[in-house]
Amino acid sequence: MGCDYTRTALHGYLDGELDATRAAEFERHLEGCRECANTLGAEESLRSSMQRSGLYEHAPISLRKKIRAGLDAATAPAIASRIPVWRWFVVAAAILIVSSVSWFAWNRTQNSASSSPFTAAELIDAHVRSLQPGHLTDVASTDQHTVKPWFDGKLAFVPPVKDFADEGFPLVGGRLDVLGGQNVAALVYSRRKHIINVFVLPTKEPDTPIHQPGLRQGYQWRHWRRQGMEYCAVSDVSDSDLYELAQLIYQ
């Protein structure tokens, strides 16, 4: 009760914010201090409850829409007031080019997606569903040697499972999911408390590089095939984070 560490360094230690010297000093103190040992245990259990209990509240889709409308309103008049009328023809031509290019690109995406056994909508649905309380993992473990065998006998294939905690993508666990009417393995990683689902299923198609990112309803995904497996990583993290994880798995 009188221990000063309990009210100070213990928290820096718990949060990984002490430098090496102070962390070592605290660990030495911890060996002899029951109060700190008790408090640390209590704080750790409280932290894991907070993180498991689904207290994080995601922004509703309606809000995303309202914000986009607000951004439109704050951007469009700026263009209108600065561009002389004749330039609208240039703008119109540009829009036409951009839209035909994106139509073309969209068609290509659709084609490559149709060769994958699920659609973007199914993918986002599966991701959003997994974020509902209690749906994220069937096996919750940061240990790849626990998660991988768990899939044994539950699926007709064994997904490659690796933890990337050292690279900033700790493994959270795994679960069985259904995508496009097919049973798939879902590996769950976290990135600064954001969740990344990596869906894995077998394929007979040849390997591909990591495809360009897809974006829908504020969620991004990256898709690729490698060594007889089809992968799709989806999340609300930034694309650079998502790409980093995709590369780690791809190696």
């Binding site: 009760m1 009188g2 309990t6 009210r7 100070t8 360094a9 213990l10 928290h11 820096g12 949060d15 914010e17 109060e35 008790n38 408090t39 245990g41 209590a42 704080e43 750790e44 259990s45 409280l46 932290r47 409850s49 907070m50 993180q51 209990s53 689904g54 207290l55 994080y56 509240e57 995601h58 922004a59 509703p60 309606s62 809000l63 995303r64 309202k66 914000i67 607000g70 951004l71 704050a74 951007t75 008049p77 700026a78 263009i79 007031s81 600065r82 309380p133 600064r192 408390k193 954001h194 504020g218 609300d236 993290v237 930034s238």
Partner: protein, 188 residues
């Protein structure tokens, strides 16, 4: 972050600003909403305030010169929330952050595990904390912010983030292990 009219006139935002904003700031909308929701304790009000904060961020976007976009946005969200609270629920802000707490024995890990296993109870306990305790916990435990980020967002000196968290955690433990009757008698 001065008047709300900053960004008018020659500073109009163009499509390039918009694209950069969509890439750097908009991905943190969940973080913005989550912080607002925990500061205001209401989803409906948080939608309004998060929207307002996001549009303010957009107006100030020319003033953002790289760095941690999430912390930059959350700082604006927090300010918008406090302005809203001052206007709509000033009583909530009257609790003192530096209230002297008598050191209390920690609850046993087992008792705490049982109490915190109930999501509603955890939710309620967190909501009973004063906003300045609540926000450091939400930023640390739900948002995963570093001490440096928490200091930037909440404008408290980095040296005091650790003790702020220590006090907030102690308050949360106490709120969690109070019996429902005790909770009621505290007039919550």
């Amino acid at each position: 972050m001065s008047g709300s009219d900053q960004g008018r006139g020659s500073d109009l935002l163009d499509v390039q600003d918009r694209a950069r904003f969509e890439q750097l700031v908009l991905p943190h909308l969940d973080a913005a909403f989550n912080l607002a929701r925990w500061l205001l304790r209401s989803r409906a009000d948080s939608e309004d305030v998060a929207q307002e904060a996001m549009l303010r961020a957009y107006r100030f976007f020319r003033g953002f010169h790289g760095g941690d976009a999430r912390a930059w946005l959350l700082q604006i969200v927090r300010n918008t929330c406090y302005t809203w609270l001052e206007k709509n629920r000033p009583v909530e802000l009257m609790t003192e952050f530096d209230e002297e707490l008598h050191p209390q024995p920690s609850a046993s890990p087992e008792a705490l595990a049982i109490a915190s296993d109930n999501r509603d109870r955890l939710n309620r306990a967190l909501e009973t904390l004063p906003p300045r305790f609540r926000e450091v916990l939400v930023l640390r435990e739900l948002e995963g912010c570093s001490y440096k980020e928490i200091a930037a967002i909440t404008s408290i000196p980095i040296g005091t983030v650790m003790s702020a968290l220590a006090r907030a955690r102690q308050r949360l433990q106490r709120a969690l292990t109070l019996s429902p009757a005790q909770e009621a008698s505290r007039g919550l």
